[in-house]
């Protein structure tokens, strides 16, 4: 029985928005030095709960206690000053300012209004060293890698003595090496007494780093348990209410056809001599660490940052994809990894978003709902992809991440492309929606399309691909057949040739 007060207690928190109860009588606690994982589908209430903790929202009822004392946060700044720091998924460093300036943003050490640069630099160095980093405090934040930027964000939190750290999907943009380093840091910080709330969809990480796990569903706490009692299967069942076994789609029934996409010697600023085949009916997964060039590959194939030399064929036609538009004309579609910035037309309806590409190629003076862009056809396609929305007329920004992703897929399918490139297809998508998107990809492949899937999510690569291409430093480093393990992939990705069975180019 605990005699000391918990570092953080959220008791009977309820928050209602018009039309929905986002958080329903949730109680949640975190002891000093505990790493408490928080899981749940998108819409389960995690982000609302965290926003309440961070002072963005005020709860309708319930209370928050820090070390036994009740607190009320009227503004995010108040929460930060009380020792609660949230590390968001979207990093918010100022790229043109130095690391030190970023760490001490808003709390610059000053004398009579003049900033004391020396104290700032020394302070930043001290904080970074504590985090095990040797980043120079005078380097511009924009020069750092994503992993380093995250360290700076954490340093920022400790600059105001954070005792409770909330990390929202911290490894989402990190590769395996950096993610492991981050998890080590999390463990070290917790041993120093920092309470950490770790929000993640990545089950393997939770198994490695958490002390306790809480699962939210539909705004309510479904389970809170120590790690020993929370194996992945039980967690997933609690989150989605069904078994994990159907998560990844079954293997294809037919052998793949001829090559639908053929790249020979594709090179540009970021890529070296790429040779790649994707056959009709096949899902080729592309894996690699950050900087390996896998996202660059997706962009090159789709014409966004085109190849500067080499050849590309789609079907058996030579293609010069110099722009996104020409790639689409050649029969290719690409689902961007950043749907907010590169995919969604937020204020337009679901239907308008689904028909965007068709409208890009239709006669400009024709009616927007002329055949084949009729409402009936569009709606049918959206329903086939299981898009859930109150009405297809409503603005797409109101949909969940998984639904938005499906609408974008509908957009690309409208022109019936031969080759589809999926970049990070389930980023920001909850567990249930992930499974359905994998199924969609499998169906598309089974119906004769060639799918290229570029992803940082290794379990996804392993589970969905028929063949895996591993990239390193801008080139293809190796290829694996389905049945490979994550270790196999990582071995090639980091140039650690311990497995003689791996095929290497």
């Amino acid at each position: 029985m605990e005699t000391a007060a918990l570092a953080l207690e959220m008791l009977n928190i309820t928050k209602t928005f018009p039309g929905v109860r986002a958080v329903d009588d949730v109680s949640f606690g975190c002891a000093r030095g505990e790493v408490h994982a928080l899981c749940g589908e998108n819409g389960a209430g995690k982000s609302t709960l965290i926003k309440i903790l961070g002072g963005v929202y005020r709860p309708d009822s319930g209370s928050i206690r820090l070390d036994g004392h009740e607190v009320a946060f009227s503004h995010p700044v108040v929460a930060r000053r009380a020792g609660v720091s949230i590390i968001h998924q979207e990093l918010s460093l100022l790229p043109y300012r130095t690391v030190a300036e970023n760490v001490f943003l808003g709390i610059e050490p000053a004398r009579y209004g003049l900033v004391d640069r020396r104290r700032m630099r020394e302070g930043a160095s001290r904080l970074l060293r504590r985090l095990g980093s040797s980043i120079a405090p005078d380097s511009p934040a924009g020069d750092l890698s994503i992993a380093q930027q995250q360290i700076v964000e954490i340093a920022k939190a400790f600059a105001i003595d954070a005792r409770i750290l909330v990390m929202d999907e911290p490894t989402a943009a990190l590769d395996r090496v950096d993610a492991t380093r981050l998890l080590d840091l999390v463990k070290r910080l917790s041993s120093e007494g920092v309470s950490i709330i770790y929000i993640s969809h990545r089950m393997p990480e939770i198994q490695v780093v958490a002390d306790r796990v809480t699962v939210l569903k539909d705004g309510r706490t479904v389970m809170t348990a120590p790690l020993a009692e929370a194996p992945t299967g039980r967690l997933v069942r609690a989150m989605v209410g069904r078994e994990l076994s159907d998560f990844y789609p079954p293997r294809p029934t037919r052998a793949p056809g001829s090559a639908a996409l053929r790249i020979r010697g594709g090179s540009n600023r970021r890529l070296r001599a790429i040779d790649l085949d994707v056959r009709a009916g096949e899902i080729v997964g592309v894996a690699g660490l950050e900087g390996s060039g896998k996202s660059a590959l997706g962009r090159a194939v789709s014409g966004d940052e085109p190849f500067e030399s080499g050849t590309m064929e789609i079907g058996d036609r030579a293609v010069k994809a110099r722009s996104a538009r020409s790639a689409i004309e050649a029969g290719l579609g690409r689902l961007s990894d950043d749907r907010k910035r590169e995919g969604l037309i937020m204020q337009q309806s679901v239907r308008d978003n689904a028909m965007l590409t068709q409208r890009a190629f239709a006669n400009p003076l024709s009616s927007p709902t002329a055949e084949p862009m009729s409402t009936v056809v569009a709606d049918r396609r959206l329903k086939q992809l299981d898009v859930r929305a109150a009405s297809f007329d409503e603005e797409i920004r109101l949909l969940s991440g998984g639904n938005q992703q499906r609408v974008i897929i509908a957009r690309w399918l409208a022109r019936d492309p031969e080759v589809l490139v999926f970049c990070e297809p389930t980023r920001g998508v909850d567990v249930a929606a992930k499974a359905s998107i994998y199924k969609i990809m499998r169906d598309l492949a089974d119906r004769g399309r060639a799918i290229l899937m570029i992803s940082s999510d290794l379990p996804e690569i392993i589970g969905v691909s028929d063949r895996i291409v591993v990239m390193r430093e801008g080139g293809v480093a190796g290829e694996l057949q389905s049945g490979a393990t994550e270790e196999d992939v990582m071995a090639i990705a980091v140039e650690h040739d311990q497995r003689p069975s791996a095929l290497v180019h």
Partner: protein
């Protein structure tokens, strides 16, 4: 936001629609009623027709500016283009009515070139439209001065001025029917069709909302930009021809019109960051502004203070829009 909203029933949808457009129309009617109280002649058919005639140039300008605003940009050069049209008109026709049609054609040609330059600078040189069109404003004004040698001739032939001045008399019910209204109806109808009933219009909305996403989806963003600035420029020439019929030829005829057009659109509910707007709003906004200026004139406000009023309206309209967006989310 991943929160599921309750079903949006037909009644609340209707209320939302009513709330959205009708602000400008309601305000316009209120202003017009006030005008009518001060000067009952405005409530007679002839008075209404005359009012619409005088509001036509601004409504036409707003209709063109609408396309640029919805695409996410600003066209600050339309006022100077109006000036160039009027001055150019007088220089090209040289008081010879037989040259009018040719002159108007040439002016449309010039306008098109200016519009395409604007569009090209924004689309290909990636210069923000504020800077690009402010620069065009300078150059076009300078060109107008160069053309007229600094002292513009005061005459335009009558058939040129017809578009602004001419009214059909002895028309049943409405008594007079100005040609300007025909032009306005044609322009507004064309603009409505172009923005709301074509694939092109949808592309404009998409580009204004998220140009990058539109580009990756295959939309030729550069071409859309060229078109919207061309449309805006052509509307400016049309408004210029009409304004040439209203008054004399001077270097000030177009001054401030770009801001009036933007103000009209904003009052009518057009979103300044692009992606949202409606033709009805632009026209209603123009009518509202014209009504306001008429009201101020009737109340005896001196001419320069109308600029002040315009500034206030512009700010108030945008602030109101921002407030509504914050409230409604």
């Amino acid at each position: 936001m991943t929160i599921a909203l309750k079903e949006i029933g037909p009644r609340s949808r209707a209320v939302a629609a009513v709330r959205r457009i009708n602000v400008a129309v309601v305000v316009f009617l209120a202003f017009y009623l006030a005008i009518g109280l001060l000067q009952p002649a405005y409530l007679e058919p002839a008075g209404v027709m005359n009012f619409l005639r005088r509001a036509a140039p601004l409504a036409i300008l707003a209709s063109g500016q609408l396309f640029v605003l919805v695409s996410g940009g600003f066209d600050l050069s339309v006022g100077s283009l109006v000036t160039l049209t009027v001055i150019g008109g007088s220089m090209l026709t040289a008081n010879d009515p037989s040259k009018t049609w040719w002159a108007i054609g040439a002016l449309y040609g010039i306008g098109l070139v200016v519009g395409l330059i604007n569009g090209a600078v924004v689309a290909y040189l990636r210069t923000p439209s504020i800077i690009a069109t402010l620069g065009t404003l300078l150059s076009v004004n300078g060109a107008a001065m160069m053309w007229s040698g600094g002292s513009p001739r005061g005459y335009l032939p009558d058939n040129f001025r017809m578009f602004g001045r001419f009214v059909f008399h002895d028309v049943p019910v409405i008594k007079i029917f100005p040609v300007a209204i025909v032009v306005l109806a044609a322009v507004a109808g064309l603009a409505w069709w172009g923005l709301h009933a074509t694939v092109f219009g949808r592309r404009v909305f998409a580009v204004g909302d998220n140009a990058r996403a539109a580009q990756l989806a295959g939309v030729r963003v550069e071409f859309v930009r060229l078109c919207v600035f061309a449309i805006s420029a052509l509307s400016a020439v049309t408004a210029g021809v009409m304004l040439g019929g209203f008054g004399g030829v001077s270097v000030d005829v177009g001054r401030g019109l770009e801001l009036q057009a933007i103000a009209a659109c904003v009052v009518g509910g057009v979103q300044l960051m692009g992606g949202r707007g409606a033709l009805v709003g632009a026209v209603a906004g123009a009518l509202t502004l014209t009504a306001l200026f008429t009201l101020l004139t009737l109340l005896g406000w001196p001419q320069p203070l109308k600029e002040t009023a315009q500034g206030l309206i512009l700010i108030a309209a945008v602030a109101f829009g921002a407030w509504r967006r914050r409230r409604g989310g």
